[in-house]
């Protein structure tokens, strides 16, 4: 889990400590490239392929975590 948070922090361009569940994705570098990276990261850590469209609807980091755990 820690490795996933670190990767996501890098993708969003924030410090891992700041990446709390309530973190607003709009406050980070959340664009189409970040979505691609997130799909890979979730696949690697949770073995789940999340839908790009569902990721596009996410507002907080918690939403992403929910998608990852939902599929697992």
């Amino acid at each position: 889990m820690q490795a996933f948070v670190e990767e996501m922090a890098e993708i969003l361009g924030v410090a891992p400590a700041d990446l709390v569940p309530d973190f607003k994705l709009a406050d980070g570098a959340w664009d189409s490239l970040a979505i691609v990276s997130t799909i890979a990261s979730v696949d690697e850590h949770f073995n789940v392929i999340v839908e790009a469209r569902a990721l596009g609807d996410c507002e907080t980091f918690a939403n992403i975590l929910a998608l990852a755990k939902q599929g697992a």
Binding site: G13, A29, S32, L33, I35, V36, S37, I39, A40, D43, E44, I49, V50, E51, A52, R53, L55, G56
Partner: protein
């Protein structure tokens, strides 16, 4: 024989046909990432470089087309193989950036290259899956015994259709052409081909052909006459199809573990590394050159062979898997023996 009901496509085995040589051609003009600093911030450029993995790419000049790149590659190839132009039985031009709406660019190239009048010539419109489809078509034409040499020309100049304001696309794509000589004999190959038009909207040029003529206006900050790509959707598709495609090839050929190289369409470095890891392939089995050439659409696989495997494949015979996937959606996998090739090189045109 076809094995019906396979999830990732019909498995097609062609008993004969082999690659005699490959020449890839790239434009002389090198475009480094500093080029984009005129338009984007250093942070943006750095971020995209990290994600898509492209450090430089080649772009054609205004008057240069895909056909020009392919013609240069073909001339060099025929010369190096010492194949007389009249000995070519068929020419297949695979591209989404042809010279004309009509006639077929293949007809024009038949004359430019001095091929005989008996030569069959046609264009196929396919992108990322186009090289593998083309290789299969070329080999298929050799099966009946009526033809013995096919020239497969594959390439694209996507730089002409990217929106400079769309930074992810603008920095991802490069231009390249290629020529592959396919001849009778050899051990043929195993192919898996499939399509899913449901994915069409995720990689598309909406305006400029017959569904919607170009209106010449930007819409929602985008130019609808330029390439539109939904990277996330494409990645989803890739993750679903490519591992299955590789497995289908392994299963069909019964050779998992004995494949020497996996040549993937160079879609995006990040995506490729992830795919390789997921499919548990060794790093040295999965060559990558997207850092120097970008995503050259249909030309990535022959270009990859010419820059990364030119030494080994001119000396030895190797078992090679090829996977093309993307725009359409369309995908194609091939497993075949390649080498020792008489010519495998990259030229500038």
């Amino acid at each position: 024989m076809a094995i019906a009901g396979k999830e990732f496509g019909n498995v097609l085995r062609l008993p004969q046909g082999r690659i005699a040589g490959v020449v890839a051609s790239v434009p002389k003009r090198v475009v480094g990432n500093d080029h984009f600093l005129q338009t984007y911030s250093a942070d943006e450029v750095g971020n995209i470089e990290k994600m898509v993995g492209v450090k430089e790419r080649r772009w054609v000049d205004l008057g240069q087309t895909t056909a020009d790149l392919c013609a240069a590659a073909a001339s060099r190839l025929l010369e190096q193989l010492q194949w007389a132009p009249e000995s070519i039985d068929a020419l297949i031009f695979v591209s989404q950036t042809p010279d004309y709406r009509l006639p077929a660019t293949a007809s024009v190239l038949q004359d430019r290259l001095g091929l005989g009048r008996h030569c069959a010539a046609f264009d196929v419109n396919l992108g990322c899956s186009g090289y593998v489809y083309g290789l299969w078509l070329a080999m298929q034409m050799l099966q009946g015994g009526g033809m013995s040499r096919v020239l497969l020309l594959v390439g694209d100049t996507i730089s002409k259709v990217v929106d400079p304001a769309d930074r992810a696309s603008a920095m991802l794509f490069g231009d390249a052409g290629s020529a592959t000589a396919v001849e009778a004999g050899g051990s043929g190959g195993t192919f898996v081909l499939g399509s899913d038009g449901a994915g069409a909207p995720n990689l598309i040029i909406e305006q400029g052909a017959f569904r919607q003529p170009a209106a010449g206006q930007r819409e929602g900050g985008r130019n609808p006459a330029c390439l539109r790509m939904d990277g996330g959707e494409i990645f989803n598709f890739t993750l679903k199809v490519v591992p299955g495609l590789v497995n289908a090839l392994h299963a069909a050929a019964g050779v998992a573990g004995s494949v020497d190289y996996y040549l993937f369409h160079q879609a995006n470095q990040f995506m490729l590394k992830h795919l390789a890891k997921k499919a548990k392939l060794k790093e040295d089995q999965v060559p990558i050159n997207i850092d120097r050439y970008g995503n050259t659409s249909s030309a990535t696989i022959p270009l990859l062979m010419s820059t990364e495997l030119s030494e080994i494949l001119t000396l030895e015979k190797k078992s090679v898997a090829m996977c093309g996937f993307g725009v359409g959606y369309s995908w194609a996998g091939a497993l075949l023996e390649v080498g020792p090739l008489k010519v495998l090189e990259r030229i500038e045109a």
